[in-house]
């Protein structure tokens, strides 16, 4: 299995991102295609470990060494089957998963890890491209009915599995479109929404019913569901944002990410929005509070709306460029990450705690006051800094 010496012969290579100047002008995904030949070479780097740490690093227990090997041998169809055996939607995870598998990759101990995420995405995209992913309606029906509340990735995965097991499944979504965070959380440049749509098409063809604008417990009484279904699965998301309770928080111009990002996605889908409710960075100076993934999503979205300037503040100190010693392999490493959005511009500041906001007379936010702080858990103010 695999190519024993592959990792010694080939170095890590991943798909390149499109040039910044090009991509900030559109909303398409930022990664370029990766040639098959190279991909197989990358598959050959997998060492087929006796104890594949990647495989437990992966929250869905993807059989990573197995499909790496299949890709190396050009057996795409089998790779696709194996990939789907643990993961309903590799095209989502292959784009937006932070890839803890790669952080746990054994090769990563002393060499760049295997490009697992790239391979995952490529397997599934090839599957779509070649028409291998087709509706798989169940061979028989159990006659049981299941309601699933929430159409995010969890709800969708459950829906597909339960349907294929022969139950009649209906998915309820309070928003106007199916997909939850996939639809309205992930920016288009990370995952184009057609990716979600084609999967939904497959599911519909398999027999899953989707109901949108259906807020269970509000627009639809729970009792109705209880009457109609044999089982109800709650797959609602965690939508409560983390607020920042500092003076000035009430000023205009301060927004939660999950108010901002969905708008951008809706626009990309061609929705006409109520312009009075627009949250747009165009022509503004923007500060993003929070240096994590959501911050990065906002950052990329802001870039595409042509702001005057962007700053991103993170309360944690700047992580080391390499894996921090307190998170040794195979743990998820604390280390500096440079996402696509960071490449595109903006200034990242570390160890900044926001103390208050001040605004103009009209109640529009004008200033952010912060201090430099030390490391967690105390975040003690550093001397010499003040708001």
């Amino acid at each position: 299995m695999g190519k024993a010496s592959g990792f010694m012969e080939h170095s890590r290579e991943t798909a390149t991102r499109r040039p910044v100047t090009e991509r900030v002008n559109d909303w398409f995904e930022i990664y370029q295609d990766f040639p098959e030949e190279k991909l197989r070479t990358q598959g050959a780097r997998c060492m087929d470990c006796g104890v594949p740490f990647c495989h437990t690093g992966c929250p869905v227990n993807n059989l990573i060494p197995d499909w790496n090997d299949l890709v190396y041998h050009g057996r795409w169809k089998e790779a696709l089957r194996q990939l789907h055996s643990t993961n309903n939607f590799p095209e989502f995870t292959g784009r937006i998963c932070p890839a803890p598998c790669e952080a746990a990759c054994v090769l990563g101990i002393n060499e760049p890890a295997v490009t697992i995420k790239q391979i995952e995405k490529s397997i599934v995209e090839r599957g779509w491209g070649e028409g291998l992913i087709r509706p798989e309606p169940p061979k028989f029906r159990s006659g049981k009915k299941v309601a699933i509340v929430g159409s995010g990735p969890a709800g969708l995965a459950a829906a597909q599995q339960l349907n294929r097991a022969g139950h009649w499944v209906t998915v309820y979504e309070k928003a106007d479109r199916i997909g939850g965070l996939l639809r309205y959380g992930i920016p288009e440049f990370k995952m184009e929404k057609r990716i979600v749509d084609r999967r939904l098409e497959q599911m519909e063809a398999e027999g899953v019913k989707f109901v949108t604008n259906a807020h269970v417990g509000h627009s639809i009484p729970v009792e109705d569901l209880q009457r109609e279904f044999d089982a109800i699965l709650l797959a609602g998301g965690a939508e409560a944002p983390r607020d920042l309770n500092v003076p000035g928080r009430e000023l205009r111009g301060l927004h939660f990410a999950m108010d901002f990002l969905p708008q951008a996605n809706k626009r990309c889908q061609g929705d006409m929005l109520d312009s009075s409710l627009d949250i747009l960075a165009t022509g503004k100076s923007v500060i993003i509070i929070g240096g994590g993934d959501t911050g990065a999503d906002c950052l990329g979205t802001v870039h595409r709306q042509r702001p005057i300037s962007v700053h991103q503040f993170e309360i944690m100190p700047m992580p080391p460029a390499e894996r921090a010693s307190q998170t040794p392999w195979p743990l998820w490493p604390m280390q500096l990450r440079v996402e696509g959005a960071h490449e595109e511009g903006g200034i990242r500041e570390w160890g900044v705690a926001t103390t208050k906001f001040t605004g103009d007379a009209n109640g529009n936010v004008k200033q952010l006051h912060g201090i430099k702080v030390g490391p967690p858990p105390k975040f003690e103010p550093r001397e010499g800094t003040s708001s």
Partner: protein, 1528 residues
């Protein structure tokens, strides 16, 4: 110990001890007058031979009691006539009466009962009792233990009726004895177990007992009576692994004495038993029933063999005929054998299976006396014939001093050959003549031609099963195929034609603890040979191996008719679908097949399975009665209702019923099953009696893989299937050879397996005779497992499943089998030792120890009790003392990188533990400490079968010398380091050549039995008296008994390795299926050592995936005082269980030699040290809780262990650990740990005198010369002296010839072993086995006595296995050597005038010149060095040489010519060889008949190595230099 006694004098089974695993091996010999002249002198000489073989025997706890000795002589008529006269009855003429030697109860009443029974039977059989004679014995002459169990010894004299001829009389006596044995055994007579008849014959009488050789003449006073006369005297000295008193198990038996072991005994005995129903002989008529059971129950292998010999002999075959039948030569693989002789053997093989195993057998019927060797020739036998027609044959030369001028010839027993003296004809009959006579008895060849059938002769089937791609997946699932089975087993076998290899041992649960449904096969473990008999190399010694089998109805073996060979001959046991269809439709002669379904209704579970088994057995029984001769048990037809019966279970059920109905031998059982897919499966089916197997689903899987183009290079299904079958067959040979078994026929039904985790009911019902010591699952679980697979198979397939279950038993998978070493445990362990964080370490051990969720090991079912009075932890022995008990495993530099190897050594030296070199030698620069005080020297130096780098200097730089008998990952196997891995450093350390592949033979060629091990221990102890000697064994049933033998062989330490350990590369089937957990092996060892009171004189160590403090404490409580670790220290240093050690691609620089990868090694000694201290701290905590202050108090306190309560696992609940936790009832004075040192018997070594006389040389390098007489009891001469030299001067030694020692006489074993540079031994006389073993620069010259008359080059001069593992030095032998001359030579130069079989085997370097005849298989596995052979007979190329790895070339290059001429000249100068003189005198004529044997690999690298400097200065290797010079 009286209460322990059973019928054979051994204790009954208890705990893990089972008397059936006792072994013995020994010294044998005989003295005979060729002309049959009776004299008292012959007896005297026989006893003298026995005395001189004393060192081949052993004593147990009582030094005065040996393991047994005895003599067999002709009836001393003159003596008995005189004695009986005095007793008031007179004897008729010799031949007209018989003498029965009888052992009787000591108490009068039961004794009279026994005598009464015997007398009555005698009369009933129409014979008369002439009288009894109370045999005078001297009880004071023997040891305490011997005396305690001594029987009352009487002789009974029986008269021959006038009308009865002598042969009929002997037959009658046979019946009398068998009847009496049976009747007494079945009687209520008290002490009946004493009753035993050593001999009852009109021709011979046996004197034997539980005594030491020198005691026999004093005990049996009459042996010294001048009137006691015999023309022959056959003697035996026993070395047994046990020390339990047994008078009966002493040899000789009635016809034979045996040195060796019958490995296939279980099968042989079972088949003999099964045959009883069809035995018939006109000579016996109805009386034949009185002979049953033919094989006495509870006999040893030798006793059983003697029983078989007796039957065949008494029913009319001559003794030589019987011997050739039971222990045939290797005929199948010998194309040069005469056709008539082949036919003779083939005919007899189709009658019955060989009794296989290492055996030197001496035999006599009172008229002929002889000896024979098994096909492998693994036991020594030497003889001399004198000019007054006396023959002396014994395990060693020089056992009887014969003036040289009287010697007519000297010889040795040869593999498969017979040495026979006919005292009636008055001559020695050569093997050729014997075999010719036997072959021409009947037209065997014609009989075979007319009656034997082959598959080719059968008509092509009209229809065959085709692959069904549509349903294959569900069927694969139903049979439990996993993804891994396809990827890691079946596909590689089809691709490469061999078994796949893996590394890093196994850490998955035992089958009986696993949550996953297992194949029934996984509940069995292969047995393997260690110490008491050697495994075989099935590749290099292929000529002795055979997969041929004969199927059909067995006939009466006492008959000799053409019909007896009416069988179907199969070249191997794996049938393709086409083969099977041919068989299914066969209609030739008696052959008629029927197919019986082996399926059950899955829904019915256990009840369904049980009734299906009953139904199947019934059908089989009916089929036999209806005349079918081939029963095909088939599980074709699995569907959504029907699941397959596990194929092994179906087979066993049918086999058992037919055995009970006594019809088993009428039919052959053929398995048509989807289940078998790996070697172990096939081995098990054959081992439990299958004649052939059609693995149809494995075949279909290959067809399917090919159709989906999963096989490389567009391989066609036909090729893939061919490869697969080839791989299975190779694997089978390997499996047989692990157990020392050569032929499939002998393996079939031999049941050389142990069951782990099957309950008693199941085993007794279906696998009777198989050991299963911890209980386990029953039919209900087997049914459930079949159901689970079946449910998975016929459940709707969704994407949530992979096509097949992932498996995960070789590689970790989240949804697969549980692994102790998984991502979490590995990372926790690594984090803890790197950060020196005990808390993290405890998290790690918590994961391993609390296996309540994931039972994996036997110890997970064990609980450690709490003491009533714990002690404060401060009072417990400090951790720094405890870590001294820790060792790291034997991993060679070669298997792991220099960096990893040295890191381990530094760590262990810092904490006072011990690291182990492994088998690859050690760089001498590591012997000196580094500037920072670190020491990279490994305290333990391993001595393994290849003896790589084992020089005298290596041996003296050790604290412990470890003899590796087996390794956990692949017990019973050798190894191979491919040439590309042999870089310059590895080559230098192993004394070989860069780029040339290195082979480790499966056995140590100087250890074929327990007394050989004693000899090697003695050799090593001589070389380095300060080092302790350790013997590494692997757990299997009977390991405790072997360990007792090891203790008696004077080892200081015995290491019991578990099956799961192992870091090196091994075939996957060995990793998974050979050996058993250390818990069982260790507990058995402790119990057996205690029962023998041997525990006090040996330390016990254990290893095998020890991971936590709890593991150590459990091992200690079970009896270990030291502990080995290999996997976990590697993990501590960074190993992440890539399991790619065999591929050289270890990504963390541990198990690799790749310079780039080695740079990635990040391990530090501190990591290893932290690990061991963490373990020790945990141990201390347990000790405190247990109330032990000192570690020694804890050792063997098995009473502090209990079974883990509340385990309610669907499989584990049947497991019963009481045998492991058994505590033999012994008084407190019997020590539970080692309290005394072994007496190695070095005090009497001749070397003390040599050293004393060599002071000037040792101290001042001044030349010295000395003369000594020498005898065979002087063993290992020169080794201690050499150790002294190495200690002072390292590997440089002294200048050549500084110490010259001249000997006269017969040297004992290991003459000149490990002889260091600067010493020259010259011997006028002869030498025994292992001359020049491990030669390290010294020089040995041996020539026959000047006054002898025989032709030196035609007579045997030195024994077997000379120059084994020699690394440098020279040897000149003016005469012939035995088998395996210069085996594993890696540097010595030798000239010899003839060699036996397997000359220069596995040679990797050095130079050998043979000036005469060679045996077969010369140069097998030879990869380096050069040999030159004078091919006098012109048959070398065709018949003598194994051409697999060498080229043969003429000697024409001037440098070759010069070299050979020079060496022959030196040989002449040093030995005065007449042959050398003759060759030199006619040089030009003779030169064209010299052949140069040039290994391919050596040739290849020579082309390369001329352009570079392969050798480091200061490490001269003589031969490459010579060769370099040669090719300039």
């Amino acid at each position: 110990m009286q209460h322990w006694k059973t019928s054979n004098g051994l204790p009954p089974p208890q705990g893990l001890y089972d008397p059936t695993h006792e072994h013995d091996a020994c010294g044998i010999g005989f003295v005979a007058s060729i002309r049959g002249e009776k004299s008292h002198k012959i007896i005297e000489q026989g006893i003298q031979v026995l005395i001189n073989l004393t060192h081949r025997g052993a004593c147990g706890c009582d030094p005065e009691t040996g393991d047994g000795a005895g003599v067999l002589i002709q009836i001393p008529h003159k003596f008995f006539a005189r004695e009986c006269e005095a007793l008031g009855f007179s004897l008729p003429q010799p031949g007209e009466y018989a003498v029965g030697m009888t052992f009787l109860p000591v108490e009068k009443h039961p004794r009279l009962n026994c005598e009464g029974v015997l007398e009555r039977i005698v009369r009933e059989e129409g014979l008369s009792v002439l009288g009894w004679r109370d045999t005078p014995v001297n009880g004071d002459a023997i040891g305490r233990v011997g005396r305690a169990s001594q029987p009352y010894i009487q002789q009974i004299f029986l008269g021959r009726p006038a009308e009865m001829d002598e042969d009929a009389f002997e037959r009658k006596l046979y019946i009398v004895r068998k009847r009496a044995e049976k009747e007494v055994a079945e009687s209520e007579i008290e002490d009946k177990e004493f009753f035993y008849v050593p001999s009852l014959s009109a021709r011979t009488i046996v004197y034997k007992g539980l005594l030491l050789a020198p005691q026999i003449a004093n005990f049996y006073g009459e042996l010294s009576d001048p009137d006691a006369e015999s023309a022959l005297c056959l003697v035996h000295q026993r070395f047994s692994t046990n020390t339990f008193p047994s008078w009966k198990l002493a040899h000789p038996y009635r016809y034979v004495a045996h040195n060796g072991e019958i490995n296939t005994l279980k099968g042989n005995v079972a088949w003999m038993h099964a045959r009883q129903s069809i035995l018939a002989s006109p000579l016996f008529g109805d009386d034949i029933k009185n002979l049953f059971p033919i094989v006495e129950p509870a006999g040893s292998d030798s006793a059983s063999f003697d029983n078989a010999v007796e039957l065949l002999f008494q029913s009319g075959r001559s003794l030589p005929h019987v011997m050739s039948m039971l222990i045939p030569e290797a005929w199948a693989g010998n194309p040069h054998m005469k056709p008539e002789k082949r036919a003779f053997y083939e005919y007899h093989c189709s009658l019955m299976e060989p009794w296989d195993g290492p055996a030197a057998i001496t035999f006599t019927d009172g008229r002929v006396i002889g000896a024979t060797l098994d096909r492998n020739g693994l036991r020594p036998g030497r003889y001399v014939v004198t000019d007054d027609d006396l023959v002396v044959m014994a395990s060693e030369a020089g056992v009887l001093s014969v003036p040289p001028e009287k010697i007519k010839s000297k010889g040795r027993l040869q593999p498969g050959k017979m040495f026979l003296v006919d005292t009636v004809e008055g001559r020695i009959i050569a093997d050729k003549e014997i075999k010719k006579r036997l072959s021409s008895r009947q037209p065997y060849a014609e009989w075979l031609k007319e009656n034997q059938i082959t598959l080719d002769q059968l008509p092509e089937p009209t229809r065959m099963h085709a692959a069904d791609h549509a349903t294959i997946l569900s069927r694969q699932r139903a049979f439990g195929y996993t993804d891994e089975d396809l990827k890691m087993i079946i596909e590689p076998m089809a691709t490469k034609g061999e078994e796949p290899v893996g590394s890093m041992g196994t850490d998955t649960p035992l089958a009986c603890l696993s949550d996953k449904p297992q194949p029934l096969f996984n509940y069995f473990k292969q047995l393997f040979a260690q110490v008491t008999n050697p495994p075989i190399d099935p590749i290099r010694e292929e000529m002795v191996m055979s997969l041929i089998s004969y199927i059909g109805t067995e006939r009466n073996i006492l008959d000799e008719t053409p019909e007896n060979c009416h069988t179907l001959k199969l070249p191997h046991p794996i049938l393709t679908n086409r083969d099977l269809e041919k068989l299914r439709r066969v209609s030739r002669g008696d052959l008629l097949a029927i197919t019986l379904p082996a399926l059950f209704r899955a829904a019915d579970g256990e009840a369904g399975l049980r009734s299906a088994l009953d139904e199947l057995s019934k059908r089989a029984s009916l089929a036999v009665k209806s005349g079918y001769t081939l029963l095909i048990l088939s599980d074709r037809g699995v569907d959504k209702d029907y699941a397959p019966i596990p194929s092994l279970l179906a087979l066993a059920a049918v086999h058992n019923l037919l055995v009970r109905e006594e019809t088993r031998t009428l039919v052959a059982l053929i398995i048509e099953s989807g289940e078998p897919r790996e070697v172990m499966h096939f081995a098990l089916l054959i081992g439990y009696g299958a004649s052939a197997i059609n693995p149809y689903l494995a075949i279909e899987t290959l067809e399917d893989l090919a159709a989906r183009s999963y096989l490389p290079g567009q391989m066609t299904p036909d090729v893939a299937i061919k490869h697969f079958i080839k791989a299975v067959n190779k694997g089978l040979l390997k499996t047989f050879s692990k157990m020392g078994i050569s032929t499939l026929q002998s393996y079939r039904g031999a049941q050389v397996f142990e069951a782990i985790g099957l309950n008693k009911d199941l085993v007794n019902t279906y696998f009777s005779g198989t050991t299963s010591r911890i209980g386990g699952v029953g039919l209900n679980v087997l049914a459930r497992e079949a159901q689970l697979k079946h449910e998975f198979a016929f459940r709707a397939v969704t994407d949530a499943d992979t096509e097949l279950a992932v498996g995960g038993s070789y590689h970790f998978r989240v949804n697969g089998e549980y692994h102790l070493l998984n991502p979490l445990t590995i990372s926790k362990l690594q984090h803890s030792v790197r950060e020196q964080n005990f808390k993290t370490f405890q998290e790690y051990t918590e994961l391993i120890d609390s296996q309540s969720q994931n039972l994996a090991t036997l110890r997970s079912l064990i609980k450690i009790k709490k003491a009533r009075k714990p002690v404060a932890i401060e009072q417990v022995e400090p951790a720094k003392e405890i870590v001294k008990r820790f060792t790291t495993g034997a991993m060679s530099f070669g298997s792991i990188s220099k960096e990893a190897h040295e890191t381990l050594a530094i760590a262990m030296n810092r904490i006072g533990g011990k690291s182990n070199t492994g088998e690859g030698g050690e760089d001498e620069e590591r012997y000196q400490k580094d500037a920072n005080g670190d020491w990279r020297r490994s305290a333990i130096k391993q001595v393994a079968s290849a003896r790589f780098g084992v020089t005298t200097n290596y041996l003296v730089n050790a604290d412990e010398l470890q003899i590796k008998m087996a390794q956990g990952a692949k017990p019973g196997e050798g190894g191979q380091l491919p040439g590309h891995k042999v870089d310059e450093i590895i080559a230098r350390l192993r004394h070989s050549i860069p780029g040339v592949g290195l082979i480790s033979p499966p056995p140590h060629h100087d250890i074929y039995s327990i007394e050989d091990l004693a000899q090697l221990i003695y050799d090593l102890k001589n070389t380095n008296p300060q080092a302790r000697i350790s013997v590494k064994l692997v757990s299997e049933i009977g390991v405790g008994t072997v360990a007792a033998g090891v203790a008696k062989a004077h080892a200081d330490v015995v290491l019991i390795s578990g099956d799961s350990g192992g870091t090196g590369a091994s075939p996957l089937s060995s990793i998974k299926h050979a050996g058993i957990p250390w818990e069982l092996g260790l507990a058995e060892t402790q119990q057996v050592l205690l029962m023998n009171d041997l525990r006090s004189r040996i330390r016990v160590q254990t290893d095998g995936k020890l991971q936590t403090g709890r593991d150590v404490v459990i091992a200690a409580l079970l009896g270990a005082e030291e502990f080995g670790f290999a996997t976990t220290p590697l993990v501590a240093m960074g190993c992440i269980m890539l399991r790619k050690c065999h591929l050289n691609t270890c990504s963390v620089g541990i198990a690799t030699q790749d310079p780039e990868l080695r740079k990635k090694f990040a391990g530090k000694p501190e990591h290893v040290i932290n690990y061991f201290f963490f373990i020790a701290e945990q141990v201390r905590q347990y000790m405190a809780d247990l109330g032990f202050r000192r570690f020694d108090e804890m050792v063997g306190r098995v009473d502090m262990l209990d079974v883990q309560p509340a385990i309610d696992h669907w499989k584990a609940r049947g497991v019963d650990l009481s045998a492991i936790l058994y505590n033999p009832p012994l008084p407190g004075r019997v020590a539970r740990h080692c309290v005394q040192a072994q007496d190695h018997g070095l005090a009497n070594a001749l070397d003390h005198q040599l050293i004393a006389r060599a002071t000037a040389a040792l101290e001042n390098r001044e030349p010295v010369e000395m003369n000594f007489p020498i005898r065979n009891v002087h063993r290992t001469v020169g080794a201690m002296l050499s150790g002294e030299i190495a200690r002072r001067y390292g590997s440089d030694g002294l200048p050549d010839d500084t110490i010259r020692i001249n000997f006269e006489g017969s040297a004992g074993q290991s003459f000149g072993a490990f002889l260091a540079k600067g010493v020259t031994l010259t011997l006028e006389g002869d030498a025994n086995d292992y001359a020049g073993k491990g030669l390290s620069g010294g020089k040995i010259v041996v020539y026959p006595p000047k006054q002898s008359h025989f032709a030196a080059e035609e007579n045997i001069l030195i024994g077997n296995v000379s120059l084994y593992g020699a690394t440098s030095g020279e040897a000149f032998f003016n005469g012939m050597a035995g088998e395996r001359f210069a085996v594993r030579n890696s540097g010595a130069t030798a000239v010899v005038e003839g060699v036996g079989d397997h000359g220069c085997e596995y040679m990797t370097n050095g130079l050998v010149v043979v000036l005469g005849a060679c045996g077969r298989n010369f140069a097998a596995g030879m990869s380096g060095g050069i040999a030159y052979v004078f091919d006098e007979r012109g048959d070398f190329t065709e018949e003598r040489c194994n051409l697999a790895s060498v080229d043969l070339e003429p000697v024409i290059e001037p440098r070759d010519v010069e070299l050979v001429h020079g060496l022959v000249s030196r040989h002449f100068e040093l030995t005065g060889s007449k042959r050398a003189k003759c060759i030199l005198d006619t040089w030009a004529d003779i030169l064209p008949r010299f052949i140069k044997i040039f290994p391919h690999e050596f040739k290849r690298v020579l082309g390369v190595s001329r352009t570079r400097q392969p050798y480091v200065p200061g490490q001269p290797l003589p031969v490459p230099e010579l060769v370099e010079a040669l090719h300039g």
